[in-house]
Symmetry: C2
Subunit: 444 residues, 2 copies
Amino acid sequence: MTRTLHLNAFLMGVGHHEAAWRHPRTDPRRVTDVRHFQDLARIAERGTLDSLFLADGLSVGPNPRHNIQAVFEPLTLLASLAAVTEHIGLIATVSTTYNEPFHTARKFASLDHLSGGRVGWNIVTSAQEREAVNFNRDSHPAHADRYRRAAEFVDVAIKLWDSWEDDALVFDTTAGVFANTDRVHEVAHRGPEFQVRGPLNIPRGPQGRPLLVQAGSSPDGIAFAARYAEAVFTAQQTLADGQGFYAELRRQVTAAGRDPDLVKVLPGIAPVIGGTEAEAQALAAELEELIVPDYALAQLSGILGVDLTGLPLDGPLPELPDSGTVQAHQSRYQLVTELARRERLTIRQLIGRLGGGRGHRVVAGTPEQIADQIELWFTQGAADGFNIMPPHLPGGLADFVDHVVPVLRARGLFRSDYTGRTLREHYGLPRPVSAYAASTLVSA
Amino acid sequence: MTRTLHLNAFLMGVGHHEAAWRHPRTDPRRVTDVRHFQDLARIAERGTLDSLFLADGLSVGPNPRHNIQAVFEPLTLLASLAAVTEHIGLIATVSTTYNEPFHTARKFASLDHLSGGRVGWNIVTSAQEREAVNFNRDSHPAHADRYRRAAEFVDVAIKLWDSWEDDALVFDTTAGVFANTDRVHEVAHRGPEFQVRGPLNIPRGPQGRPLLVQAGSSPDGIAFAARYAEAVFTAQQTLADGQGFYAELRRQVTAAGRDPDLVKVLPGIAPVIGGTEAEAQALAAELEELIVPDYALAQLSGILGVDLTGLPLDGPLPELPDSGTVQAHQSRYQLVTELARRERLTIRQLIGRLGGGRGHRVVAGTPEQIADQIELWFTQGAADGFNIMPPHLPGGLADFVDHVVPVLRARGLFRSDYTGRTLREHYGLPRPVSAYAASTLVSA
């Protein structure tokens, strides 16, 4: 079978560019309007994209005065979008640091039923002190501790999804037997972080388990992905970095005893699309012009975990510690500091480079040029697909779907119609069997 | 203004009668089918009902072999129903014992935006040991402790909803000011149960705060309702009990310094509807005949907190302790034990009486007879409306909407069209002002 691209629409307010809301192509009032997101979902589905995706954080951003990119809670928004779409996958971010596995497993199972098997979970560990203080804590747990908790959290969630075998519901009205409880299992988990008896209070969803997605590219993050992830969102600025990450992830997946072809790697790309290259460059320049430096500095300070307020914009970044000591966005920290060093950027230049995608790769050009970049990374061992981050919404997504997707289809790189119904089918991934299937465990 | 009824559709799988799934009028396979619930929502909206409501528990029921009445997680299901309805209110149950106020406040605010101001929160404290063991606990906290936590939980949630004043979003593209942060407030809550800095990460919803609903009728529950609730679901078997509860609740609401006309009391009613009284009685008998005693005993044991397994069905209930010592469903315990004593019921008779509504009042009759009962309680100081619990679904709800609602309309007791857009407007309740409005607090 020919290998084909997987494309995910990363939805973010009225655009990924931090100044998109100020640009005449957007209406910032739509950030709280569900119809905006329904429009986006329909556009993405019109493009036969694999999935759409919502990031998440558990606090207001560092500087809400100048922008609030995400407003809706992902699971409720995706449930609403499930009702107005038929095929597209729906990936929600949920933190393992400030949630409980029973609630999380249950909500994803509920969404999987609601959507007919289209849900995925982007597993994150949260990164900000300002999130911790909303959840009874004075400080944010350390990076390694968060990943330890995340692993146990996902272990429990998998047990809970599996706790109802696929054939548990029998509906025997004559005998009065609704469920075969020999196929429903207590999970009886007792670990350092969690004690959960189970079973889950919702039967197994159409996909068995949601698609598991992961997005951190630190050493802890890659190790976690190697063990659990079926799709990986990553930020890579250069083809060489993309190839390096791709190879390293596959190496670790193989070492973890899994088939690397069953883990899809999707770097982020923010396509700034114009009818000509000059038009695309002009749009990029317009957006950069609208950046509010105070906001951009607050964002950058958040990524680096260092307060940059008051530093001269036309000077360099200050000396910063090694990434291994960073407790927040460890891989993003490394990417940003390397970018600044490699290209000898001033702070002003750096925030201009980051405004379009918070460290993700920005490509401005014609539809053909953008398709060229996608094809290059896809064929040169740097990507199985892309996480599409339109700078402005809905227009930037519509441009991608209406002008870039047809080029990719014409090149035989992307589907013209959905052939599957579930998110796993779109990504070409198998439906997991319950770990309890054919077991001899005592029923719940 | 004429006082009119408020009617809520309490949705529960394929029916409130515990044996509904065995009856030919239902298809039990629809319990995991979102289209079933979308159909129910559309039927309720066709009947211009105020709202629909989902109960919740955080474990599988006591005996899933013979029935699982609720499957979907309420917030995700309601988000999906919001997308296919326009007017009807959407009330979700969420426990304060096993959740965090930041998550809960946020999800309800998200749903309020998603639904255009149609969301309500049924605040519960959970009641079962089998829920505790799914959340890192060996035992369930005591009744009074749960209510103490619930009060602080709601206090925090209200602060979070209020943390964005209504005029906080300004979208000044020229100046680059997205939000007026003088109108966004840290809540800085530090209490015995919760430390939450805030502000919430979603602006204030169309209703300001969701409608607050409460459903426990124990002394702790009534005191809680008097302080917080805007609508109260209750189970009362006789007109006298209904009048007593109604008067007592209003007395306590007044004592708490609130206007009792702004707290709507809705007793549950399970209407078994027939073209003639005999047809209705026959349907009730058919349903009772299908009860699985093992399941009913497990349910009753759960309500009473006493294991009744193995007791002779044709004997009486055993001696039971006073309700004040009960740690689970305190008011329901009292109702059930009084019912059994008053009518000298055997266990078999008692489970037959409870099968239709778990302690709620079952009324079998013609549409006119059911309307008569509704009118009687409404005009005689026992109810502001009703929580409608159809024995089988969707048919029982369609019968109510198509046959009982027209009678209530003809009598001038119920609306013929929606006149408002939000749930608060349907219930005739004001939109709360943010506690921070016009305050001089320092911005976040």
